[in-house]
C-alpha cells in the first residue's frame, strides 16, 4: 500500500472489491471506459466476467486441434513406416496394412498430443510460468487466492493516468486502492 519507492516504474493500480458481483460490475465499468490493459483477479473463475471484460474467444481450441491432428497423422505415419515400409514382417499371416490394429495406438497418441496442446497451450497463452510479477509486491493481493476480488489497471494502457484511474475505481465502489510498482 506504500506509495514510496518512486524510483521504480509504476506498473498499475490495483483495487479490491467485496464480491464476485462487484467484480463484474467494476470490470464492466472499466471496460466501458475504454481501458484495454487491465485485468481482474479472483480465487475462482467467475461466471459472466468474460462478457463484462469483452474477452475474445480463447484460441486454445485451435492449438489443441493442431496437436491432435499432429498426433493422429504422426502415429499413422510412424506405424506405417515401421510396420510396412521399413521392416515388413509376416505376423500371424496378417496383411501389412493391418489398420484395425493400428487404431488404439493412433487414438492414444492423438489424445496425448491433444492433451499436451491443451495444457501447455494454456500455459503459453497465459504467459505462465511467471514466478515474479509486480502484483506480488502487494500484501493485500494475497487474498486473490483466498477470498479477495481485485481489479488492476495497468500503466501500459494508453489511457492510463493514475489520478483518473483512482477516481474511476473509487467511484465504482472499490476499496483498498493501491499503486503497484515494478520493483526491479
Amino acid at each position: 500500500m506504500s506509495t514510496e519507492s518512486s524510483n521504480n516504474e509504476i506498473y498499475g493500480i490495483l483495487a479490491e472489491v467485496r464480491n464476485p458481483k462487484e467484480l463484474i460490475d467494476i470490470a464492466r465499468t472499466v471496460n466501458k471506459n475504454g481501458y484495454k490493459k487491465y485485468d481482474t483477479f479472483s480465487p475462482f473463475p467467475i461466471h459472466g466476467i468474460d462478457k463484462a471484460m469483452s474477452l475474445q474467444k480463447s484460441k486454445l481450441g485451435w492449438i489443441v486441434l493442431g496437436h491432435g491432428l499432429l498426433g493422429f497423422a504422426g502415429a499413422l505415419a510412424m506405424i506405417y513406416f515401421m510396420m510396412v515400409y521399413d521392416y515388413p514382417l509376416n505376423i500371424s499371416g496378417k496383411s501389412l496394412m493391418n489398420i484395425p490394429a493400428w487404431i488404439p495406438v493412433t487414438f492414444e497418441l492423438t489424445i496425448l498430443l491433444s492433451a499436451f496442446g491443451a495444457v501447455f497451450g494454456m500455459f503459453f497463452l497465459n504467459g505462465l510460468p511467471r514466478l515474479n510479477h509486480p502484483l506480488f509486491t502487494s500484501d493485500n493481493f494475497k487474498k486473490a487466492t483466498n477470498d479477495g476480488f481485485f481489479i488492476c489497471i495497468e500503466a501500459d494502457d494508453p489511457q492510463f493516468e493514475p489520478d483518473k484511474v483512482r477516481n474511476l475505481l473509487t467511484e465504482a465502489g472499490a476499496t483498498q486502492i493501491e499503486e503497484i510498482r515494478d520493483d526491479s
Partner: protein, 476 residues
C-alpha cells in the same frame, strides 16, 4: 390421468456455515498445521510396505520370474491381475473429474482432487506390473519405438503394445489434468504458508498463478478440453486393457463383451476405492462438511449401477457361451463355476454382484460404516474377478493335456501387498502437502460464487429463493 411431481431441491454441496475464507482454511490448514503424529505412524507403515515391494522386485529381477507361481499353461498370474485391478481403480479419478465435469455434476468438486490423486498413484502401482512381469526387464525399452542398430521396431499388432501406449498416455494425461487443477490451489498455499521454503516450493508449483480472469478464461477452456479428451481416454484405457484378453483366442478371454464389462468393473472398483479412502479421510480430517453423506449416497448409487452392470456381464458371458455353442467356451464357464477355481468364482459373485444390492436401501447407502464395509468387499471381489478371468481361462483351455493348476508363492503375495506401500506412501504425501479438496473449484461451486446471489442494490450476499415450478398436471 394425472400425476403430480414433487420438486426435490439439490442438497447444498457444502454443509455448515462456510464462506470462501473458512472453506479456504478448512482445507488448506490441513497442509499448514504441524504434521500430526498419526501421519508419521501411517507413513512409517507405508514405507515398510514400500520396502517390501522394492525388495520383492529386487529379488524378482535377481532371480527371475520363476519366483512367482507361474507355470506352463498359466503364464500370467498375480502380476497381470494386480495390474488390471490397480488400473481399474485408477479409473475413478479421471471419471469423476472428466465425465462428471462434462455432465455438470458439481458434487464432484468435493472428491475430484482426492480421486485424481488416487488415480495417479493407482496407475503407478499398476504400471509397475507389466514392467516387472517380463522375463528380461533390462530390454523392456524394446517396446518403445526407438531407432536402434537392430533396425527392429515393436509390433503394433500386439495388444500389449497398445497397453503400453494406453497406460502411459492415461498416466500422463491424468497427471497433467491433476496438475492443472492443482495450480490455483498451489497458489493459495503459496499465499498462506509462512515458511520461506514453503513459499518457494509452492511458488514454483503454482507457476506464478495470480488468479487473473484472463487466465481463468483460458484455464477453463483447457479444463473443458481436457475433460473432453479424458472421457474417451478413460474409456479407451480399460477397453485396451481388456483387449489383452479379448484379442487372444483363449476361451473365456476371447469375447466382445470385455470392453464395456471391464470399464464398468473399473468404475465399480474405482468408486469403491474412493469411498474407502474418503470415509477414512473425512473422519480424520473432519471434512464432513465438504464430503457429505449426500456424496456417499451418490457414489453408492453409482456402485449399485456399475455392480449390476458387472453382474449382467457375468450373466451374458454364460449366455453367450451357451448361445455360441463353442465347446471350449462352454467348458470354461462351467469349470469356472464348478471346477477347481469355483471358490474364487463364488467369492467374486458374492462380492461383486450380491453385496452392492444392499444399496437398494436408502438407509444402507447413507450408512457410512456399512458403505465402508461394502467398499472394501467390492475391491476384494474385483480382485477376484481378475483372478478368475486371468487364471481360470489359462488353466483349462483347449488341450486337456495342458491343463494345470496355479498356486501363488509368497513372492506373488509380497509384491502385491508391497504395492499398497507404494500407494499409501504417495497418498500420505499427497494428503500432507497438497490440498485434498480442489479449493478453487469448490469455492466456484458455492452459492456465494454466483453473482446472481447478490443483492443488485447493496451488493450484499442474498441467496435467491428457489422457484418451485408448478407441477404440470396434464402430461403423463
Amino acid at each position: 390421468m394425472s400425476k403430480t411431481y414433487e420438486y426435490v431441491p439439490e442438497p447444498a454441496l457444502v454443509k455448515g456455515n462456510h464462506d470462501f475464507s473458512s472453506i479456504n482454511s478448512l482445507i488448506t490448514d490441513i497442509n499448514l498445521r504441524p504434521t500430526p503424529k498419526g501421519w508419521y505412524i501411517a507413513f512409517g507403515l507405508s514405507n515398510l510396505l514400500l520396502f517390501v515391494l522394492l525388495f520383492s522386485i529386487g529379488y524378482l529381477i535377481w532371480e527371475g520370474t520363476g519366483i512367482w507361481g507361474l507355470n506352463q499353461p498359466v503364464g500370467w498370474g498375480w502380476a497381470i491381475i494386480n495390474f488390471v485391478w490397480w488400473v481399474g481403480i485408477g479409473h475413478a479419478g479421471t471419471l469423476i473429474s472428466a465425465i462428471l465435469f462434462l455432465f455438470r455434476q458439481d458434487w464432484r468438486t468435493a472428491i475430484n482432487r482426492f480421486a485424481e490423486a488416487m488415480t495417479i498413484f493407482a496407475v503407478m502401482c499398476a504400471g509397475i506390473f507389466p514392467a516387472i512381469h517380463v522375463g528380461r526387464i533390462w530390454v523392456i525399452y524394446w517396446v518403445f519405438p526407438v531407432p536402434n542398430s537392430m533396425a527392429m521396431w515393436p509390433n503394433f499388432n500386439s495388444p500389449l503394445l497398445w497397453d503400453v501406449f494406453a497406460v502411459s498416455t492415461y498416466f500422463t494425461v491424468s497427471l497433467l489434468f491433476w496438475y492443472v487443477g492443482l495450480v490455483p490451489d498451489f497458489a493459495t498455499l503459496r499465499d498462506r504458508i509462512k515458511s520461506k521454503m514453503g513459499k518457494m516450493i509452492y511458488g514454483v508449483a503454482a507457476l506464478g498463478w495470480r488468479g487473473s480472469n484472463r487466465h481463468w478464461w483460458n484455464y477453463e477452456k483447457a479444463y473443458m478440453i481436457l475433460a473432453g479428451l479424458a472421457t474417451p481416454l478413460v474409456l479407451s484405457v480399460h477397453t485396451i486393457v481388456s483387449f489383452d484378453f479379448a484379442v487372444s483366442i483363449i476361451p473365456g478371454w476371447h469375447t466382445t463383451i470385455f470392453p464395456p464389462y471391464f470399464v464398468a468393473g473399473a468404475v465399480f472398483s474405482g468408486f469403491a476405492m474412493v469411498l474407502t479412502l474418503m470415509i477414512i479421510c473425512r473422519k480424520i480430517y473432519k471434512l464432513e462438511d465438504i464430503m457429505t453423506v449426500d456424496h456417499i449416497e451418490k457414489m453408492n448409487l453409482i456402485i449399485l449401477v456399475t455392480g449390476s452392470m458387472v453382474g449382467f456381464a457375468y450373466l451374458m458371458e454364460f449366455f453367450i457361451a451357451w448361445y455360441g455353442q463353442v465347446e471350449y467356451e462352454k467348458a470354461i464357464f462351467i469349470l469356472r463355476a464348478t471346477g477347481p477355481y469355483a471358490w474364487a468364482y463364488w467369492i467374486m459373485i458374492t462380492c461383486n454382484v450380491l453385496s452392492p444390492q444392499f444399496f437398494w436401501s436408502k438407509k444402507l447407502r447413507r450408512n457410512v460404516a456399512f458403505t465402508f464395509f461394502i467398499s472394501i468387499v467390492v475391491n476384494i471381489g474385483m480382485w477376484f474377478e481378475r483372478f478368475v478371468i486371468t487364471v481360470t481361462s489359462l488353466s483349462t483351455d483347449y488341450l486337456p493335456s495342458s491343463w494345470g493348476y496355479f498356486s501363488p508363492t509368497i513372492w506373488d503375495v509380497l509384491t502385491y501387498v508391497g504395492t499398497f506401500g507404494l500407494f499409501f506412501t504417495f497418498f500420505l504425501l499427497f494428503l500432507r502437502f497438497m490440498p485434498m479438496v480442489a479449493v478453487a473449484e469448490i469455492k466456484g461451486a458455492m452459492p456465494q460464487a454466483d453473482p446472481h446471489n447478490y443483492d443488485p442494490e447493496t451488493g450484499d450476499y442474498s441467496p435467491q429463493e428457489i422457484e418451485i415450478p408448478e407441477p404440470n398436471k396434464e402430461s403423463v
